[in-house]
Symmetry: D2
C-alpha cells in the first residue's frame, strides 16, 4: 500500500527536508506540495537539490488542496498551522512541524507565542522518557502528531534520563547551544545574511526568552521533574545545519558515578536513533548531518558537581523532519527507521 | 625612544598576532623573531600576511638570541617558557603568552599542566577586578607579565563584576564557549584539519578538564570569591578566530536587577577595551575581529534565577597578543591603547 | 546473493565515503575494512559518522586480508595501489579509487606522478563520451575499474559533449575550480589546518602542474579531440566537500547556439546522475552534497566567443566513491543507481 | 589641518568599511554619516564593530546634508550617486564608491547598467598601467574620483602589466573569481542568506553578463590593448570577504619567460599596495583581510600557452574603501598609505 502524502510549506527548509526524506520512503507517494507566495512555481526552483521531485509543482496552501491525503505534513510558521488543522479534521494523519500543537499549557503558549491556543497533539520524540516508559507508546496509532522544536528535543533528550532516574536536580539546568542558521528558516532578515554569519558566533534570545524553553520544561516534567528551571542560550555559528547542545545539571546528593552513567545508558540502550557515546568520546554535528541520529555524551564533573551532556543533532532531521517521519512510521505501524539513516554525511 | 623587541614563537598564530600589532606600534622596533623548527627561514614564509615584516628572518629560540632586548615576548607552548625565563633575568621586560607564569597555586599547576612550576607573574588583564581596584595597578612598572589564557580572561571578565559586587554566587558557575580553532595553535592534529572543522561544532575538554579552569578560579578569587566552582565547556566552531562565551551564575537572594546591572556597568565604565553593551544588545565575535575589545552583554533571567553574560573576544587579540601589548603599554607608561584598536573588521 | 566487500584505506575520507554508501547497498555485505597505521582499532574511532558500522574493526592492509572478497575497493594514496593489485589477481572485481590505473600513457604518468607505471583499467565515468558511445559500455562486465580523479571527471564531463560534437576547440581550454579540502585527504599538513582554510580562498598547483591534467586530456581525447590543452587551476575554499568547476572553451567558427545547446542536451538526456540544468539555472555544490549527481549549466558568451560550463559535484561521491559504486553496479549488472541518490542534502 | 568628511550609505558594508578606515585616519574628522531607511538611528546599531564611532547618528542622505564637507564619500547603490553628484558641485572632493562615474562609454553603461549616464571621473586604481605611466598621475589633485568595482580592479591589476608590455593577447582572457558575499551588500535576498552560502560554492552572472566586464575592458584598453575580450565568472564562496581571482591570458608568440616575469615585476616594483609574490608563492585572501594589499602571483603554463595570474584582494578594502581612501590621499597630497595597512588579519 502506498500512502498519499501532502507537504505544505514545501519551499522552506523544513518542508524541503521532509521531502528529501519522504522521496526515499518506499511506502509513500508525494502527491501534493504547497507553498504560499510561491504557488504555481515548480518545486525544483525552490529546492534545487531535490532532483527526483523535479516533476512537482507548488500549489497554494489551502485546506482543500491538503485534504484527501493519507498523511499531511504542515511545515508552516508558528501560528499558521491551527487555521489548517481545524479544516483537516477528516484527514487520517496530520503531522505539524510547527509549534501550534506542542504545548499543553495555554499560559505558556500565551507568554512565549501568543495568539490562539490549539490543543496539544502527541509529541513526536519517541525516545523521550515519560511516566511509565517512553513517548513512543503515545505515538502508536496516533492520528495527530506535533513534531518537536529542534533545540527543545535536543535538550530534552539530553537531560530526561537524569530526571527520570532522579539523579539530577531539574531546578537549575543550564543549556547553551551552538546552532546553524537553517533552524531560523528562509526568512529575509539582515541578521541571517551570510555576511552576518560567516566567521562569527552570534547569540540570540538570551536571558529566558527563547520559545523552546516551555517545551523543554514540559518534556522534563513529563519525564518526572516536579519543577524545571533552565537557563537556555542559543548561539548562531557558521554551519548551515546542526545543533551542538551543552546541557548541565546539578548532581543530586549521594548519587554515584555509576548511577549517573546507568541512567543515561539504560535510557537509550536499544535505541537506534539516540546513542550514548562511550565515556570520553564526544559528539560532533558533522557526524549526524543528514541523519536521524542524536549523539550524546555524558561527562561527570565532580568539582562543579554537575553532569555535562553534550549532544549533536541535525536540526532539520532528528530535530524536525526526521522526527516527524519517524513518528509517522510509528503511528502507522511501519518499521520505525524506514527512510531514515543513522549514518551522517561527513566530513 | 624606540624599544627593541624580540618575539619568540614567531611562526605560530600567537606570535604572528603579536607581530601584526607590534608592526603598527610607533614606539617599537621588531629586531628579532625566533622559532624552533623553522629557524633560518624568512618570517614571511610562515606569516604571509605580515607584508611589512618581509625583511625579517627567523632565528633559533635561544636565551642568547632573546637577550639584550628592551622587551621580550614569549609565544611558546606551555611548559617551554620557564626554561627561557630563568635565562632572561637581565631583560628589562619579559611577557609570556604561555601559561607558565599564570598560576599562583603549584597544586593547580601540577593537576592541570604538570612539569616544573614557575613563579607567577603580573597577570595581563588590566580591567579585571581585584581587591581594592583593578589588575591594571599591578601592571604599572611590571617587569614580568603573564598574558592570560584567551578563554580564561573572557570568562573572568564576564563574571568578575558580579563576584566583586557580591551579587552572584561563584560556587555554581557555568560557562560554554564557542571558539575558533586558532586558539589551538598551528599544531598538526587530525581534529584541527579543515575537513574536521568546517560545517560542524565539536566540543572538547568536557567535564572539568580544561586547563583554563584554575586560571578562572584564581581570577575570580582575586575578585573576591571565597570559593569558585565552574562547569566549563569549549565548543570548536567553524570560524578561524573568536570566542563567544556564555557564562551564567546564580543571582544572590534579594539582589535587584538594578544592583546587578550596576555591578557590571560600574566595573567597566570608562574602560576602553571592555565594553558593556546596552540592555538587549548582544555581542558578536565579528565585531571584535582584529580588535582588542571585549564586548559584554548582561541578561537577567529571573525564571532561572541566573545572570547570563555573553562575551565576544578575538582570542588572538584581547585574548592573547592584544592583552600582552596593552599590558606592555601600561608597564612602560605608554598610552594604554597604543597600537591597539577598538574597531573590529566586520563583516 | 550478497556480495562480500573489502574496503582498504577505510580510515580516510574516500574510504569513509565508500563505506557510507555501501552501508546502504542491499546487495553488499561489508566484511573487511583495512587501514595501515590504524589497524587494530575500531572503525568508529576514525569514522564516527558511520554508526551502522560500529561493529567493524580495522585490519592491516595486506593482500592476504583483501583477498577472497567479491569486490575489493582500494582507497590508498597514489602509488600504493599497484603493489596490491598484482597480488589481487584472483579477486573477481577490484576498484581502485587511486590514480594508479587511470592513465594510459606511461610518459604522462612519469611526468605527473612518477614511480612504477601500472596498466590502465576501465575508467569509472559511465556518462563520459567515448568513440561510438559512452564509457558505460566499457564498464559492463569489467573486473578491474579505476575510479576517476574528482576534479578530472568534473571537468571532463563538463567539456566532453562539446568535444564529441565538434563544436568547441579543445586546444585552449581553461578550467578553474573552487574545491573543498576533503579532496586532499586526512593528511596532516599545515595548509590543510582549519585556521588556514576558514575565511580564505587559496589556490594551489597553479600553472599546469596538477595531476588531474593528463587525466582530463586523456578523457577528452577519448571523446574525440585530437589535441587537448588546458589551463587548470584549483582554488581551496572553506567548505568541507564540493567542487564547483568553471570550464570554458572557444566556440568553433560557424557553430550556432542551438548546436551548442544540443551537444550538451543530447549528451546527457536520459542520464540519471549527470543533469544539464535549464538555461540560466546555475549549479551549486550544496545541491549535490552527499549525492551522486553532477549538475551542469551551459552558458554561451558570444562576446568572449566561449562556452562556459559550470558544474557542481560532491568530490567524495560523484567525484570518487559514488562513481566507484555506480561503476560496480554496472560491472555486476545491478541497477546502476542502487544505493546512490540524486538528491543532495541542502541547505 | 583636519578634513571634514561625510559618508553616505553608512549603514551598508562599503560605507562601514570606509568608516572603519577613516576612523584611524589622523587627518580626518568624520562629521556626517547618512543613510536612507535608517536615518535617525545611531550608527552603532548598524555597524556594531565601529566602537569608536558610537557617538554618530545617521542622517538622511540629502544633498544638503552632504554639502559643506571637505570630502564626501558616496557608498550608494548603482544609479543613485548621479542624482547627488550634480547637487554636490561645490564640494571640494567627491569620491563615488558606486559605478555611476566609472565608465567612459555610454553604450557600455546602457548595456550593463541602464538609466542615466554620468560623466566619468578619475578612476581610483593608482597602480593601474595607463598610457605613459600609471593611473596615479590622474588622481593627483583630482576633485572627483570613481572608486573601482572590486572584481574589476582585481582582474585589471592582474592582467594590465602583460597588456602594457605587449606580452599577452587581450582578446581571449578568462577570469574566474572566488568571492565572498559582502561584495553583494546588505541586500535582503534569499540567495545571500547564510543557509544558502555556508558549505557551498555558487556561481552567478555567468556567460558575459556581469557588470564589471566593461570596466575591465576599459581598464585594459587604457593599459594599451586594442581589443579586450574576456570570459568572466564569479563564484560565491563561504567567506565574508575576499576575492581570489584566477586570470589567464594567451602568451604572445615568441615571448620568453623572462619577458613575462619582467612585465609584472617592473609594473609593481616599488608599489606598496600591489605586490608580486616570488615565483611559486601563491596569494590567499586571508593574507589581505582588512588590508589594502593586492597580492599577485604569476605562473607560466607553456603547455596551455597561457599565463595564470592569481590575485588576492579584500573586496571591501583594496577593492572598494581602501582604494577610495588611497585615492583621496593622493588627490590631497597626503602620504598615499595614510590610515591604510599592508598587513592582513590572519589566520
Amino acid at each position: 500500500m502506498t500512502l498519499s502524502v501532502a507537504v505544505s510549506g514545501a519551499s522552506g527548509y523544513a518542508g524541503g527536508e521532509l521531502l528529501r526524506i519522504l522521496a526515499a520512503h518506499p511506502d509513500v507517494e508525494i502527491t501534493t506540495v504547497t507553498a504560499h507566495a510561491n504557488a504555481g512555481q515548480p518545486l525544483i526552483a525552490h529546492q534545487p537539490h531535490l532532483r527526483s521531485l523535479a516533476h512537482l509543482t507548488l500549489e497554494d496552501t489551502t485546506p482543500e488542496v491538503l485534504a484527501g491525503h493519507d498523511v499531511v505534513f504542515l511545515a508552516l510558521p508558528h501560528g499558521q498551522s491551527g487555521q489548517y488543522t481545524d479544516a483537516l479534521k477528516d484527514s487520517a494523519l496530520v503531522i505539524d512541524a510547527g509549534a501550534d500543537h506542542r504545548l499543553t499549557d495555554p499560559a505558556a503558549w500565551a507568554r512565549f507565542y501568543g495568539g490562539d491556543f490549539h490543543e496539544p497533539w502527541a509529541y513526536g520524540v519517541p525516545e523521550l522518557a515519560v511516566a511509565g516508559g517512553k513517548q513512543r507508546a503515545n505515538l502508536v496509532g496516533a492520528t495527530r502528531i506535533a513534531a518537536p522544536g529542534c533545540n527543545a528535543s535536543t535538550v530534552s533528550l539530553s537531560l530526561a534520563p537524569g530526571v527520570a532516574a532522579g539523579v539530577i536536580d531539574a531546578t537549575d539546568l543550564v543549556s547553551v547551544l551552538a546552532v546553524g542558521p537553517s533552524g531560523a528558516g528562509k526568512s529575509l532578515k539582515t541578521n541571517l545574511l551570510a555576511s552576518e554569519i560567516l566567521g562569527t558566533a552570534n547569540p540570540y534570545a538570551v536571558g529566558g526568552t527563547h520559545r523552546h524553553i516551555p517545551e523543554i520544561q514540559q518534556a522534563l516534567r513529563g519525564a518526572g521533574a516536579d519543577e524545571v528551571r533552565i537557563s537556555f542560550t542559543p548561539v548562531l555559528v557558521p554551519m548551515a545545519r546542526g545543533i551542538l547542545a551543552t546541557s548541565t545539571a546539578p548532581i543530586r546528593a549521594g548519587v554515584t558515578d555509576a548511577q549517573l552513567r546507568d541512567a543515561w545508558e539504560s535510557a537509550y540502550a536499544g535505541e537506534t536513533f539516540v546513542q550514548l557515546l562511550p565515556e570520553g568520546v564526544l559528539p560532533r554535528t558533522a557526524d549526524v548531518l543528514g541523519a536521524n541520529t542524536a549523539l550524546l555524551s555524558l561527562a561527570i564533573d565532580r568539582d562543579a558537581n554537575r553532569v555535562v551532556v553534550t549532544a549533536a543533532v541535525d536540526n532539520l532531521v532528528k530535530g524536525t523532519a526526521g522526527a516527524a517521519i519517524q513518528s509517522m512510521n510509528i503511528a502507522l505501524g511501519l518499521p520505525e527507521d524506514r527512510a531514515l539513516t543513522v549514518n551522517g554525511v561527513a566530513p
